[in-house]
């Protein structure tokens, strides 16, 4: 049975914890709004880009001269997994879910006899995957210093990935991130970025014959690397919003749990206080009776 003083200390410590989680929840809520706005602002560009690319890919993609970024290298032996997670923890299952998806994929590919290479963005995913796949790592991108995600960050990652592709280091690249659905649901997603895949449905049906300046192939060759950067940027933004959403609901839960714990501890505290008083009374009364 803990003493009254112990209980009191315990209550005040849980109260402090609740204050911290409450503050973190509010910070996450503010950041979530900003992250969502950023994701929304980026959407028109990505949508138009994909529509144009889908149209171009449909007309050029079938020919033998199609760029490697679109047609692939003709093999799928070496697979690159680009795993994007958060730089910070305390956001529920967010990092663990992405890492889990990546791990399953890696195991599946290894079982099929493929070579797997892993490139991580974000510290948390690296820490988790390093334990199991340490020897498969080919790099890590650190975004800890980045305050506000910009297109430049995505471009730098894309540049790194493309340089490795040009050097023939891998055949297929898949990107792992969490798609933001709402504050409570973030869906870990795997998306193939090289060779590029486009939804034919996205293509501008109404476009009809179009003049290309320079030629179709040249435009495609110019745009495909940008497409990789655009996809990575979209993934990063989705991830940013998901992270804040996950943190917000995790901290909301933590705040509620702390509240329940405080209630429970307070009841216990009051009961023991009552018991002490009763005990003292009994002692006084029995002492008086003995006289």
């Amino acid at each position: 049975m803990p003493s009254l003083k112990d209980l009191k200390n315990r209550i005040s410590s849980v109260k402090n914890t609740r204050k911290i989680t409450k503050a973190m929840q509010m910070v996450a809520a503010a950041k979530l709004r900003r992250a969502q706005e950023a994701a929304e602002d980026a959407r028109p560009y990505a949508e138009r880009f994909n529509a144009v690319m889908a149209g171009l890919a449909a007309s050029v993609g079938q020919s033998d001269t199609a760029p490697k970024l679109l047609a692939g290298t003709g093999s799928d032996q070496v697979q690159l997994l680009l795993v994007m997670t958060a730089e910070r923890g305390l956001c529920g299952g967010f990092n663990a879910n992405i890492a889990k998806l990546a791990r399953l994929k890696a195991q599946e590919l290894q079982a099929a006899g493929k070579t797997v290479k892993i490139l991580t963005v974000g510290k948390k995913g690296r820490d988790v995957l390093k334990r199991e796949f340490g020897e498969l790592f080919i790099g890590h991108v650190d975004l800890t210093e980045v305050k506000r995600l910009g297109y430049v960050d995505a471009q730098n990652i894309a540049k790194d990935v493309l340089a490795r592709f040009d050097a023939g280091e891998f055949d297929v690249a898949t990107m792992f991130y969490a798609k933001f659905q709402n504050v409570v649901t973030q869906i870990p997603t795997a998306q193939q970025i090289i060779p590029a895949q486009f939804d034919a449905d996205d293509a501008d049906a109404a476009s009809g014959p179009v003049d290309y300046e320079p030629s179709e192939e040249a435009i495609l060759a110019d745009l495909l690397p940008r497409g990789v950067a655009t996809q990575i940027f979209a993934g990063l933004l989705e991830n940013g919003a998901s992270e804040q959403g996950a943190r917000m609901s995790a901290m909301d839960n933590a705040t509620r749990n702390a509240g329940e714990m405080i209630d429970k501890l307070t009841i216990e505290y009051n009961r023991s206080r009552q018991a002490v008083i009763t005990n003292e009374l009994i002692e006084i009364i029995s002492g008086a009776e003995a006289l």
């Binding site: 950023a38 602002d41 980026a42 028109p44 560009y45 990505a46 138009r48 880009f49 144009v52 171009l56 910009g150 297109y151 995505a154 501008d204 109404a206 476009s207 009809g208 014959p209 179009v210 003049d211 290309y212 300046e213 320079p214 040249a218 435009i219 110019d222 745009l223 940008r226 950067a229 655009t230 940027f233």
Partner: protein, 137 residues
Amino acid sequence: MADTMQFDLVSPERSLASLQASAVQIPGSEGDMTAMPLHAPTLTTLRPGILKVDAPEGSSEYLVTGGFAQITAEGLSVLAERAIPMDEMTRAHMDELIEEARAMYKTAKDDDSEHGLVEDAAKLLSDMEALGTHMSL
């Protein structure tokens, strides 16, 4: 004949303009062109340059650094890698862009990559410098 068309200027980070325009001058990679309503459908890549928009409400200018423009029967969308409104443009901005182009040219030249890449970087650099002169900065 329609005298205005829908004009959208978007960069990866945000949408910069969406309005009715009567004519837009585009710095295409194979030369400048002006798109007016009912222009033939065209897709062109951009070189670093100045995008001039003429709208009934007045004209505006943007600096773009590459990307592409899509002209359709309904209107014109410009997807620029980076776009900055002209009145926000400063000397420091320009210097930064030129510095970036110069660094790119240097790396392309140094690692002996394909000839095309070096040429592209050199062209980018000269485009950037020409742009600086044009703006008399």
